[in-house]
Assembly symmetry: C2
Homo-oligomer: 257 residues x 2
């Protein structure tokens, strides 16, 4: 599962929100968070009071190609220190437990973050420890809460998955990959006139074979065939292949015999 | 990281595309795929020729609360059999290796899938084995390719992550969670007139304290203060708390002394 060609997306940039892991427990999850970030072009990680110290060898082992995110990560003793130089902070959590707070979808939060960052603001997202999530003392440092709308019958996103979904949403809103592209390895799209000639060839052979024996049905049949072969995007080579197929069927051994 | 209240999202439904894992290798990844699906309300999994047989105990152990997805999963010997009763098939892969094919973003593919399913069509997404991805023989069974636009400098999504991102995108497009909600545990939003009285109280105490000693600056200062306290959504209890704060500051020991 890889992605687009670098040349198609010239806008991958080091700017973006800061990912702040508060008291993360498992090194594997720190590594997974780094990979999730870097998959979607986010680079800036802060780590608050990690359970197993810093640097964390299991995090490094699990980050594989995203080790640079860990190399550049900043270590803090308190969440307050980790957010001190930010202008806007979001807390990713499901249950604000008694706090009056705005709760945003990832889509709404990232739209806001894009707007603020475009204005020059520094923005961060807080992620709590795996088992317990963010404490209220951390949540009150945030202006708003972000909550992924998951299936209420099965609401279990782990730390790496949560960072992945938010990082993907950050990227989705600015990604310039065309929604639909035609992958044409070593081929060119056929010209309309080449498809027309192929269809004329097909229709002539079908006439010869007596396919259109009910003359009043001919126009509809021809229209249907033309529509089938215009619906798929055909390459010049596809058209050559199909003309070969028509010839083979029209002149093949069975007809000759 | 959990989600919204079930009562807010009454539209979780068993309908949706089929997730087809082709020759998956690790049971852990099959379990992760089940969790990813069920997190976003997708329930129908098909498994083609899994390396370690079926059922897979590591898949079951890793699926935790999403074990029902595995219980109901259907086993096939070939990809062709697994897609036979579907009307439209998408292949998740990065490199079509020589095949002319439409390449869609997850957003575009899921928009199309929603439209087709609404028309009564059955839709499936193929995911290849972890190491090698889908083979061309599988990709040609699909009408289009889906590729997640990841960072070209780090394009490494694993099977579970890929299923997570596509399942989340399926859900995102139909989710009815309000983008922005005010979480108000045991409180009500303050009425405008209560905020007005609090501001009048504040301004009166500031007048008494000589805060507005430059009369020509008074209107701007008052406007700024009113704007600060109108910007945040305040509850009735917040307003009571703030009035207590004003009283304490205005009448506290330091002033008396």
């Amino acid at each position: 599962m890889a992605g687009t060609d670098a040349t198609r997306s010239p806008d991958w940039s080091p700017d973006g929100p800061v990912t702040i892991l508060v008291a993360p427990q498992m090194g594997e999850n720190i590594g997974a968070a780094a990979r999730a970030m870097w998959n979607f072009g986010l680079r800036r990680m802060r780590v608050v009071n990690p359970r197993d110290g810093w640097p964390n060898s299991r995090a490094i082992a699990n980050a594989s190609g995203a080790g640079g995110v860990l190399d550049e990560a900043q270590l803090y003793e308190t969440t307050e220190a980790a957010v001190a130089d930010l202008h806007r902070v979001y807390a990713t959590t499901a249950r604000p437990r008694g706090l009056t707070k705005q709760v945003l979808t990832p889509e709404a939060a990232m739209a806001e973050a894009h707007g603020l960052i475009a204005q020059g603001a520094r923005v961060g997202f807080l992620y709590g420890p795996e088992r317990s999530g963010l404490e209220n003392a951390d949540v009150v440092l945030a202006q708003a809460i972000v909550s992924v709308p998951v299936n209420p019958a099965f609401a279990s996103l782990n730390l790496g998955q949560c960072v992945l979904l938010l990082s993907a949403e950050w990227r989705r809103q600015i990604d310039r990959t065309p929604p639909e592209q035609l992958h044409l390895p070593g081929a060119e799209l056929a010209l309309a006139e080449d498809v027309t000639r192929m269809l004329e060839h097909l229709e002539a052979e079908l006439d010869a074979a007596g396919f259109f024996h009910l003359e009043h049905k001919r126009p509809t049949m021809v229209e249907t065939l033309r529509n089938i072969f215009r619906r798929a995007p055909l390459t010049d080579r596809d058209v050559q292949t199909l003309r070969g197929v028509i010839r083979a069927l029209a002149n093949g051994p069975r007809r000759r015999g």
